[in-house]
Symmetry: C2
Subunit: 350 residues, 2 copies
DNA sequence: TTGTAAGCGTTATCAT
DNA sequence: ATGATAACGCTTACAA
C-alpha cells in the first residue's frame, strides 16, 4: 500500500541519507544529479527519498546557493483589468523555469512601493518585475541595490533598468489617426496621469497625429484623467460641461487613454443622452475584456498584455543569468481594434 | 550625504555586529527587540545596520524559526475576472501581517495543482489559500501533509480543511426566485461544471426555487457549462436550437451560473436577434466588472470576492497560529443585484 | 565513488 | 547585559 507518507513530518536529507545507508554528501549528489554517485547508491537514495516523502528545503539551499528561485511582481493593483494578463504571463514564464512569483500590490503609493522593495530585498528575491508609479528610479536602486535584477513593465525610468513596454506614442497616434480618418477634427483627449510616461507618450501620439493632419492642438480639449473609470466619467462630464457653455469647444470624438476611462466616459455620455458613436465617437486603450462587451463595443488600441508579462519574466531571467548584459529594452507594437464606438463624423457638440 | 549604501552589497549580521562593536548575539537581540540589550548597545547596532543598509536574510532566519512568513494563493487563473479581487483580498490581509504571497495558476489541472503543491512544500510555505478544482482532497493532504495550513476558497471538500465560501444554494435560489417573481416559469439554466460544488450547489438552488414555486423541473432546460464565456455562448446556442425545434421547449428566461457565461449567452442571444430582457431575461452570478457595462446591464448574484480573500487569509493565519483549532467554516451571503437584463415576463421562444 | 567537515545567515541556549 | 557556540538543512571543497 503506497501511502506516500502523508503524515507531513518534514524529512531532512540526513534521514534520507541514513535510510539509504550513505552520507549526506552522497545523498545530496544523488538527489541533485551532481558529481559522482554509483548507480546503486543513487537508486537507494532516490528510493529512500520516495519512502520518506522527502521534499528539499529550498530556503536552506538558498543559503548556500545564494539563489532563491523566487521573483516578485510588483504592480499597482491586480484588480485593475490591465494587470491580470500581465501577471499570468509573468507567472507562466517564471514557473516554466522553476521560479515562484510573489505578488505585491502597491496602489501606486511610493510608500508601499518602498516597503515592498525592502521586504523583497530581505527575501533575497532573484529578480523583480516592476510596474512602478511614482518612486524615483534612484530611490529604487538605493533600496534594492543590486540584490536583485529588475525589469520595468509598461514604465520608463531614468535608471538603467531593462524595460518591456509598448510603443505608447504610436498607440496614441493610431487611436487619433483613426478618428481623424473618420473625418473628426474636434477630438478631445482624456489623458492618463501626465506624471507617468504612459500618460505623456499617448498624449504625444495624439499631438503627433493632429500635427500630421494639420489640425491645431487645442489645449481646452485635453483633460487629465487618472486611468480609472470614475476619473473617466468625471473628465467626460467636464468636457460636456465646457462644451455646453462654449460652442466653440464642441467636439465630435474623444480618445480616452485607457479603456477604464473610456467606459467611464461612455457612462457620462449615456447619462447625457449623447449617442455613441453617432454624436460622439470614442476610442479607448488597452483592449481589456470590458471593451468588447460595452454597448457600443469599444474601439481601442490593444496592448499585448500577456506577451508583455512573458517577455518581462524572460528578460528578467536573462538579466539574472548575466548581470553584465547591456541594457535590454523591448518595445512591442500596439494594435488598433475597430469596433462600434467609432464611426464616420457627424458634427455635434457634447 | 545620506546615500543609504546603494551599492547593494549584501550585509550580514556579523558585519553589523562588528561595526557596532558587539557580538552577533547582541546584534540579533537588538535588531529583533528580544532579550536584554542595553540602550547604548541597541542604538549602536541600529545605527550600524542603518549605515550598512542591512536587510535581514529571511531565508536564513526561517531555517532556525521554522517559519517562512510566506503563504501561497493557488487558483485556476488570475485572468478569470472572479479571482483578482480574491487575490487582492488575500494579499492585503497577508501583507498586513507581514506575510508574502506566492501566486500559482493551475488552470484547474490536477497535474499542475499537484506540481505546485509539491513546490510549495519544498518552499515550506506556512499556509495555502487554495481554490482547487479536481484534485481529490486526500491527494492534497498526501502532498502537503501538515507542512502547511490550508484554507479552501469557493470550494468544498471532504478533507477537513477550513473553508471560505458563499452560500451557493442560496445564490442559485435568489437568482431563480427573482426570475420567478417576474412571472417566468420556463427558466433555463446554464450551469457550471457539475463536478464542482459551486456548480452543483447553484443548480440545487435553482431546483429549490422551482420546487417552492411549484414549477416542475424540466431536465431539457438545463445545460452544463464550463464557467467560461465561450461555453456560455455555446450553451445558449444549444438552448435556442432546441427551442426552435421543439416549441414545447420554449423559455423566457435563463439563469447563467456565472457572469462570464451570461455574457456569452448575451452574445448568442444578440446574434439571433432575440431581445434581452423583453424576449428572454437573463441573470448571471458573481457580479464581475463586466456585468455593469454590458448592454443591457446584467442582473446578477454578487459574491463578496474581496472579503472572501481577506477572510481566507485571516482564517489561514488563525489556523497557522493554532493547528488544533476545530475546523473553521465561513459561509458568506450572496446578494441579488438587479439591473437591466431581467424584466417582467413576456413569453417567447428562443 | 564516498565521506568528513566547513560554511551559508540567523536564532537560541547557556555561560559568564 | 553580553558573548560563545550549537543548531537549522543544505551544498561543496577536500580527503580518502
Amino acid at each position: 500500500m503506497q501511502l506516500g507518507n502523508g503524515d507531513g513530518n518534514i524529512t531532512t536529507i540526513y534521514e534520507v541519507a541514513e535510510l539509504a545507508g550513505v552520507s549526506v554528501a552522497t545523498a545530496s549528489r544523488a538527489l541533485n544529479n551532481t558529481g559522482y554517485v554509483s548507480k546503486e547508491a543513487r537508486s537507494r537514495v532516490l528510493e529512500a527519498a520516495r519512502r520518506l516523502n522527502y521534499h528539499i528545503n529550498v530556503n536552506a539551499r538558498s543559503l548556500t546557493s545564494g539563489k532563491t528561485y523566487t521573483i516578485a511582481l510588483v504592480l499597482p493593483d491586480v484588480t485593475n483589468p490591465f494587470f491580470p494578463a500581465v501577471a499570468r504571463g509573468v507567472e507562466d514564464a517564471a514557473s516554466r523555469k522553476g521560479y515562484s512569483v510573489i505578488l505585491c500590490n502597491t496602489d501606486g503609493s511610493p510608500r508601499k512601493e518602498a516597503d515592498y522593495l525592502n521586504m523583497l530585498r530581505s527575501r533575497r528575491v532573484d529578480g523583480i518585475v516592476f510596474t512602478t508609479s511614482e518612486l524615483p528610479g534612484a530611490r529604487i536602486s538605493s533600496i534594492i541595490g543590486d540584490s536583485s535584477a529588475v525589469v520595468l513593465v509598461d514604465r520608463d525610468l531614468d535608471e538603467p533598468y531593462d524595460i518591456v513596454k509598448t510603443d505608447n506614442v504610436k498607440g496614441g497616434f493610431l487611436a487619433t489617426s483613426h478618428l481623424i480618418s473618420l473625418g473628426h477634427t474636434r477630438i478631445a483627449v482624456i489623458s492618463g496621469p501626465l506624471s507617468l510616461t504612459t500618460g505623456m507618450e499617448r498624449l504625444q501620439g495624439y499631438r503627433d497625429a493632429l500635427g500630421q493632419a494639420g489640425i491645431p492642438f487645442d489645449e481646452s480639449l485635453v483633460v487629465e484623467g487618472d486611468f480609472r473609470q470614475e476619473g473617466g466619467r468625471a473628465a467626460m462630464e467636464r468636457l460636456i460641461e465646457q462644451c455646453r457653455g462654449r460652442p466653440s469647444a464642441k467636439l465630435s470624438a474623444v480618445f480616452a487613454c485607457n479603456d477604464l476611462m473610456a467606459v467611464g466616459a461612455l457612462t457620462a455620455l449615456e447619462e447625457h443622452e449623447i449617442a455613441v458613436p453617432s454624436e460622439v465617437a470614442i476610442v479607448g486603450y488597452d483592449d481589456i475584456a470590458l471593451a468588447s462587451v460595452t454597448r457600443p463595443r469599444l474601439s481601442t488600441v490593444a496592448q499585448p498584455k500577456y506577451e508583455m508579462g512573458v517577455l518581462a519574466a524572460e528578460m528578467l531571467l536573462r538579466r539574472m543569468a548575466n548581470p553584465n548584459l547591456p541594457r535590454q529594452q523591448e518595445v512591442l507594437q500596439p494594435m488598433l481594434v475597430i469596433r462600434d464606438s467609432t464611426l464616420e463624423r457627424r458634427s455635434r457638440c457634447g
